[in-house]
């Protein structure tokens, strides 16, 4: 399961599994954000390539409008996926403390 919702101070909190089944819901939510957005991933357990697609599409849209998507609190699995896909070069990432 996946939840994605606004948190405090412009942060978006994503929790659970961002897989192919959940990607459309995540995309629908992120299509509505603007500006500089921090995605709190500390409770994001898992991401697949469908989830990467959602993040890439959102980043492209935000960068085009002078904003950006930043990721915070990413776990080891998600970090690995970002590293191997080169997404660590496309996002500002703050790993889990």
């Amino acid at each position: 399961m996946l939840t994605i919702e606004p948190g405090a101070e412009g942060v978006v909190v994503v929790a659970g599994r961002l897989d192919a089944a959940q990607a459309p819901a995540a995309q629908a939510f992120l299509d509505g954000v603007a500006g500089v957005v921090t995605l709190d991933c500390s409770r994001l357990e898992y991401i697949s390539s469908a989830g990467l697609g959602v993040l890439l599409k959102t980043q492209k849209r935000l960068l085009g409008a002078g904003g950006k998507l930043r990721l915070a609190g990413v776990n080891r699995h998600v970090q690995d996926i970002f590293l191997y896909s080169g997404f660590d070069q496309l996002f500002e990432i703050e790993p889990a403390s």
């Binding site: 192919a20 089944a21 697949s48 690995d80 191997y84 896909s85 070069q89 496309l90 990432i93």
Partner: protein, 575 residues
């Protein structure tokens, strides 16, 4: 019977005090002395002002409080009051303020003039899960009993229950005149300490047996599930007569107590050694293997005080590795420091073979010994059998070897086999993206049942999702379900996806994505296979023309495979 785990680690001083009590409880006493010992031990360890033990009389379903020798005991139905509630629920009851609790019966205080502030009531349940009685402790020094006290009380109660049960049993035997001497009694005590049932550990076949010699011997073993893994003990106290039987029983109780309280291997081993070194006569010691098996990592961590050889049978090549002792026997001398524990890892089908010297030194009429080579041969030829059968085979071979010469020493065997891989877990899934949730649940359950390291789960989930969604997207109209098989392999797991009624499409030939492109040129998609190749060990594709069936198999081993460094790219973070 459960209690909350301790909040704070036990201090070495506390552990020492509890082990001292445990050692004392393992000595033979009559019932009244033992009751007094148990109460005094509990008061001391839990810093309680008063204590009492109600014994359970199963015949009348009553709880009986022995007051003093010669005075008729107090009897209560096993349903009355806090003691009765505890006997029924077998749960610890902690009442921090008695006068605020309606279950507390104030009559006793009125009659005695004593003021009960707080009360800990705990069930005494023996190894065989039988209710022995209920212990009550009153008025904790300087406050109420807390969660740490509860945890210690539960561990102590288990020892008290066993000690009391043992005394009742020996008293019954004495009455029946079946035990004519102290040695016989000590031997009964020694054997009663052995586990009555074998612990159930998924993925493992665990078996232990001890066959006492007619006259003398000091063997014991233990197999217990603890917070830190399966506790494995095989020990042999040196010497003849009553003393070895007694000291090995004490050691058994102390080790069990230390691990119940959550102590680690090094602390437990060192503390038990030091207590034994203090209390055993100079010419006495105990050779002991004390190990912990972590069923998730399949690693055995151990100290072997003078006990050896221990055999590690390798299923892969049907040979044994022999390991020697790591330190001096227990109780030989106080140990200022202990070397780090030794370890070895069990692969599927491997067996840890722990045998007392009564096996290796079993003699025939010419004083020839059974020896290690014969043991290894028996193990190798029966390694595929259940461990209880392997133990029986070893015993048969010993008797055949001795040709009528009677058993001279205790024969004790502890055999622990990691099961050869279980049959693969299989399930079919509808060809729909929303089947992913069921696939995730199935995979996690298969990991648990096959004993696969959960560290590998995210990578396997990832590869499965990518391959499954590919099949959904490019299945060309097939409506057949997709089959998934998961099986544990040495160091990891093998997963197979089977896709029916489809054209050949070798997904493993998909090119790698160029992950160094600037963001304007990156597009969603095309990353699945690229990532799978980096997250799992190997991906293979197989197609059957006749069956129109695609099969993709991948393996994932080693917890650190995902930490391979990225190649050929700069490391700075884009801002």
């Amino acid at each position: 019977m459960t209690a909350r785990p301790r909040q704070h680690p036990l201090s070495v001083g506390d552990l020492e005090a509890i082990l001292e009590v445990t050692r004392a409880l393992a000595s033979p006493f009559d019932l009244m002395t033992m009751l007094a010992e148990v109460v005094s031990a509990a008061k001391q360890v839990l810093k309680a002002d008063r204590g009492s033990v109600w014994l359970y009389d199963a015949a009348s379903d009553e709880l009986v409080l022995e007051v003093a020798t010669g005075i008729p005991p107090v009897r209560e139905p096993a349903s009355a009051g806090l003691v009765g509630a505890c006997a029924r629920s077998r749960e610890i009851i902690n009442v921090p303020d008695c006068y605020a609790d309606p279950r507390f019966d104030r009559r006793v205080d009125r009659e005695s003039g004593y003021r009960t502030r707080c009360l800990l009531t705990l069930p005494l349940v023996d190894h065989q899960d039988a209710l022995v009685g209920v212990m009550q402790l009153l008025n904790k020094e300087g406050g109420a009993f807390d969660a740490d006290d509860e945890a210690v009380a539960v561990a102590l109660a288990a020892q008290c229950a066993v000690a009391l049960q043992r005394v009742r049993m020996t008293e019954a035997l004495i009455e029946g005149e079946r035990l004519r001497n102290e040695l016989g009694m000590a031997r009964v005590v020694q054997m009663s300490a052995l586990p009555a049932t074998m612990p159930v550990l998924p993925g493992y076949d665990v078996f232990g047996v001890s066959k006492p010699a007619e006259q003398t011997g000091g063997d014991t073993f233990d197999l217990q599930l603890t917070e830190r893994g399966l506790l494995v003990v095989l020990a042999d106290a040196a010497g003849h007569g009553i003393a070895p039987a007694l000291s090995v029983t004490q050691m058994h109780a102390m080790l069990r107590m230390a691990f119940r309280l959550g102590s680690d291997l090094q602390t437990s081993f060192a503390q038990v050694n030091n207590q034994l070194a203090e209390t055993l006569p100079d010419d006495r010691f105990i050779t002991a293997f004390v190990g912990l098996l972590d069923a998730a990592s399949h690693r055995v961590e151990y100290q072997s005080g003078g006990q050896g050889p221990l055999l590690h049978f390798h299923a892969a090549n049907a040979t044994c590795t022999r390991h020697g002792p790591t330190c001096l026997p227990l109780g030989a001398m106080p140990a200022a420091s202990l070397r780090p524990a030794a370890t070895f890892d069990l692969a599927p089908g491997d067996i840890l073979v722990l045998l007392s010297d009564g096996v290796y030194e079993y003699q025939d009429a010419n004083h020839a010994e059974f020896g290690e080579a014969r043991v290894e041969a028996v193990v190798a030829s029966h390694a595929g059998k259940p461990m209880a059968e392997l133990a029986a085979m070893l015993e048969t071979e010993l008797v055949a070897f001795a040709r009528g010469v009677p058993q001279q020493d205790d024969v004790t065997m502890v055999l622990i086999k990691r099961e050869a891989s279980a049959p693969a877990e299989h399930l079919d899934f509808a060809r729909r993206i929303d089947a992913l949730q069921d696939i995730v649940a199935f995979t996690a359950e298969a990991f648990r049942r096959q004993g696969v390291d959960r560290e590998l789960l995210p990578s396997v989930d990832f590869a499965l999702e990518e391959l499954f969604t590919n099949m959904v997207k490019y299945g060309g109209g097939s409506s057949a379900p997709v089959g998934i098989d998961i099986v544990g392999v040495p160091g990891g797991v093998e997963v197979t996806l089977t896709d029916h009624d489809v054209e050949r499409f070798d997904v493993t030939r998909a090119p790698d994505a160029d992950v160094s492109l600037p963001i304007e040129q990156r597009v969603p998609g095309g990353l699945g296979l690229h990532l799978i190749r980096r997250l799992v060990d190997a991906v293979e594709y197989d197609y059957s023309e006749a069956a129109r069936r695609s099969r993709i198999t991948f393996r994932k081993t080693g917890p650190d495979a995902t930490r391979r460094p990225a190649e050929g790219r700069g490391g700075h973070v884009d801002d």
